[in-house]
């Protein structure tokens, strides 16, 4: 390689470097943080280090040895950080209820004396293997329980993976609902977008410009403005219901329910369906349909056998784009939907800001991220085989 070429490559890399560094800090690092937050479970191992060390040799069947109890007493005596201890109690209580009172009683007993403490005498529950099992299970600084819980799975006492009881399972319902809403929006976008793109491609001159502008103007408009507009149109005293009343059909509840969410999301995402199909249609030679006709195909047959198959690539990439955006939607369901139309993004936000359950928020986030990236990979493959995009 010549020195000039080498220098040019080095220069090119130097130009990319600032953005690369920026994204490593503000894009890659947050995603790594999410990943580690979902699997990390440090409270017990950090606050009760001696207990964790001692309980490792335990057989999980008989009561643990004296040393384990002594280690726990020492850990509790050494621990000065009330908040960290609170985390431990919360963590253990979520695995086995009763830890809250048990730990409070044990702690005051430990603080009263300086010597060894008979734990079973302090509280009979220390004679129950289940409580020690909870500590042993929480001993590792890493856990898969958030990721399992994100898809409604859990480990039983023996460590085998099983489905959580239906009364506690909520996340699969949310995921199914997210897919159902995204699927209806995608279907509706195909139903409206495919004929519209064909209409745009079939006219020319100012008609085409006007029809294209009708797609592009909403695309350029703030998503909040569009959502606010739908809020105004769909409310019970809104224009849509006024019109329905005026023609004698009567009012429908359209806001804070599924219908409103699907209508508003279809409006927001429709351009992402129309534009890919339109660009594929433009690349189809215009003489194909006359050729099919000249070979004896009637218009319907020519459409079904010639134009539609050629258009499918655009439909597929449009559908992937719409579905991929739809499953991560937050704003529209939050503002237009009711409690039964909340999608996975809202649940993630609820865990993060509502209950500060970061592990759960992160685990659900990873589920959403993996699904989105998988769809994007398919989309990338699809558009790479067709015309080059972006």
């Amino acid at each position: 390689m010549s020195r000039a070429a080498l220098g040019r490559r080095f220069g090119a890399f130097a130009l990319v470097l600032p953005l690369l560094a920026f994204l490593l800090v503000f894009f890659v690092w947050p995603l790594v943080t999410i990943l580690s937050e979902a699997v990390s479970d440090p409270s017990v191992s950090r606050t009760l280090p001696r207990t964790v060390e001692a309980i490792r040799a335990w057989d999980r069947e008989s009561l643990p040895s004296e040393e384990v109890g002594a280690a726990l007493v020492e850990d509790l005596r050494e621990s000065t950080d009330d908040q960290a201890l609170g985390d431990v109690v919360r963590r253990l209580n979520s695995a086995k209820s009763g830890f809250r009172t048990l730990m409070a009683r044990t702690r005051s007993a430990v603080e009263e004396t300086a010597g060894p403490v008979d734990l079973v005498a302090v509280d009979r529950r220390w004679g129950d293997v289940a409580f020690w099992t909870a500590i042993a299970n929480a001993a590792s600084p890493y856990t898969d329980r958030n990721l399992l819980a994100a898809v409604d799975l859990e480990r039983d006492a023996a460590g085998a993976i099983r489905r959580v009881p239906p009364s506690e399972s909520a996340n699969l319902t949310i995921l199914t609902r997210t897919f159902a809403i995204a699927g209806s929006v995608t279907g509706l976008c195909i139903l409206l977008g495919l004929p519209y793109a064909m209409l745009v491609a079939s006219v020319s001159g100012w008609m085409r410009s006007a029809l294209l502008a009708a797609v592009l103007l909403p695309l350029w408009t703030s998503i909040l403005v569009r959502t606010a507009a739908w809020y105004i149109l769909l409310q019970d005293q809104g224009l849509v219901n006024d019109a329905l009343r005026a023609v004698g059909i009567g009012a429908f509840p359209l806001i804070f329910n599924r219908a409103g969410v699907v209508i508003a999301m279809t409006h927001v995402l429709l351009p992402f369906m129309v534009l890919p199909i339109y660009s594929v249609l433009l690349s189809i030679p215009r003489n194909l349909m006359p050729a099919a006709a000249s070979l004896g195909a009637n218009p319907v047959r020519a459409f079904l056998r010639v134009l539609l198959p050629l258009t499918l690539r655009g439909v597929a990439s449009g559908a992937l784009l719409v579905f991929m955006s739809a499953i991560g939607y937050y704003i529209t369901p939050a503002l237009i939907g009711g409690p039964r139309d909340q999608m996975i993004s809202l649940v993630i936000a609820f865990y993060a800001t509502g209950t500060a359950n970061w592990g759960m928020a992160a685990a659900l986030g990873i589920v959403l991220l993996v699904i989105t990236l998988a769809l994007y990979a398919v989309y990338g493959r699809l558009s790479a085989t067709g015309t080059a995009r972006i």
Binding site: F13, F27, W29, I223, I232, Y330, I348, L368, I390
Partner: protein, 262 residues
Amino acid sequence: MWTLARIVFGAAMVTFLIAPLIAILPLAFTSSVFLTYPMPGVSMRWFEVLATDAVWRRSIVNSLVIGGSTTVLATLLGSLAALGLREQFRFAGAFRTLFLLPMVVPAVVLGVGMQILFARIGLASSYMGVIAAHTVVAMPFVIVSVAASLAGIDRRVERAALSLGARPPTVLFRVTVPLAMPGILSGAVLAFATSLDEVVLTLFVAGPNQRTLARQMFSTIRENISPAIAAAAFLFIVGTVIVAALMLLARRRSSRPAASGT
């Protein structure tokens, strides 16, 4: 019959796409406290609220400050990277994918990650944090726009400048950047628009002091819907139309061949 069906379908679709944007506009001038038709009277009271109410005013100023900073940062980083990506070097493809990925990653996921991370590194509820977050999602638009513009440059022009004795930095600033300027400018406009419209990341990383106009609109729709929304939406739509017109004008001017042989 077929023609009639096409006209009806086309008209219905254009109505569906455009009507919501038009329906909200008059409500910006309502004199009522409700966002419903018919309007009892016409007034400017909701624009006055935007201009005088402390929360709305603050949010507008915040949007301009954060949007402006995001535009500068995203345009600078994105344009440099787009210039670098013209060369084929090792991992160039991987970099390109990485740079476009912020468009794909769901905002809530990125938002939660940023919230946890920013709390740890001391950027929570700070202007710097919000600007960095907005820059991450605004930058891909700059890359796409500048890359498209660079792809249209005849590289022989740059080689000619080099052969005439110009040093590479001179070629970059006197030849390449001016030729790519339409792309850089439209990238900057898109970056500003992205920042202006960003809600989800802002929800997670901004404190009450960094509340932006979009964030304020979001909570107003959610908590106490008022026609101030329509007034803010009016400003957004008018701004969009003006910017779209300017971009169209810039494109028309740049695509016109140079008048004289300069």
